[in-house]
Amino acid sequence: MCDTLDMNKHLEPEFITLLDNNQNLIHKVCRLYTVDEASHKDLFQEISIQLWNAYPKFRGDAKFTTWAYRIALNTAISLYRKKKRSIDTTSIDFSIHKFEYTEYNEEEEEQLKAMYKALQELNDIEKALVFLYLEDKNYDEIAETLGISSINARVKMNRIKTKLKQLLNP
């Protein structure tokens, strides 16, 4: 017990630095799976706890980011429980309003807003596929992360693209 505590104490600064350097990765997952700031922070905290609990077993043979992607997505999909809030925040749609579109023209901005709105219509698993796709992961990695076959990951992604098109042009 004492040894574990000592080891954790030793690992803590190193872990906090790694998490701090990669916090955008977690924020992106939170942005996809939550719609208001309070839930975003809740999920960020839960992911951080899960990462920290799993960190002593992280061997370093995988990249920290690859390992963190998996835990962050797993937390959002399987572990995170939305807390009941007194105000219905789903109608606020934080994600769209908080984004910056300074580099984009009006038409592109509209398209992006419609895309982010369409993303919120996807289910948890579809969101995970899109997330990994946007993060430039190949189908083997996507399949491995989710626990499905590589071919089926590709087929599903094509179906999601069709679904997104339909959501954009109802």
Partner: protein
């Protein structure tokens, strides 16, 4: 898909996130998890404790020993304490064994499957106990009817049997309601996501 390419570009440029300081991260990682797994763990432990307490209620062999002797399935009542004690130990060991195997670093499908397997261990424990309780109730009912008495009061027996049936139905309804609530709160999301992952592999 042109919109998706545009989204990819914008997605990777995102920097407008709330900055969380190292001090805040340090505080965060020492907070208690409020994950579904944690809730399942706590609820399962409560279920184990409640059922173990309940098993004391149906271990009534002492007061009924004389009347039950020679009746069918008497051995069940005779050994009820050992049977329920043994099932508790077996299921608690299985539960902890499955719980320890839950790893957030595995694939999503494997993780959900393991969480559901852990919860199922507790369910089987509850079903086993319900069967034992059911058998004990049946035994008590059989015992109540004075088989050897030639003046069997049929009216009284029927009323008693009807009351037992109503009581059992209410009991089952209560358990069913409890599960609806617990599953609604905890497992629904997991089941939905697990089915979605299975569908991806079976559809193609």
């Amino acid at each position: 898909m042109q919109e998706l390419d545009l989204l990819k570009k914008h997605w990777n440029q995102q920097k407008d996130f709330p900055k969380i300081s190292k001090e805040e991260i340090q505080k965060m990682i020492h907070k208690k998890s409020s994950s579904i797994v944690m809730w399942i763990f706590v609820i399962s432990i409560i279920e184990f404790i409640v059922l173990n307490l309940l098993s004391y209620l149906y271990s009534f062999k002492e007061q009924n020993e004389i009347e039950l002797k020679g009746k069918p399935l008497y051995f069940l009542v005779d050994y009820i304490d050992y049977i329920s004690g043994l099932t508790s130990i077996v299921f608690i060991v299985l539960f902890f064994f499955n719980y320890r195997k839950i790893s957030v670093a595995t694939s999503t499908k494997q993780l959900i499957a393991q969480i559901l397997k852990t919860k199922k261990t507790v369910n089987y424990y509850i079903y086993t106990n319900l069967i034992i309780i059911g058998l004990v109730i049946i035994l008590a009912t059989i015992n109540y009817i004075p088989w050897t008495n030639s003046n069997i009061n049929f009216k009284q027996s029927i009323v008693f049997l009807a009351l037992m049936a109503v009581f059992s139905a209410l009991f089952i309804l209560l358990i069913w309601g409890y599960y609806k609530v617990i599953y609604g709160l905890l497992i629904k999301k997991l089941m939905k996501n697990f089915k979605e992952l299975e569908k991806i592999d079976s559809d193609n």
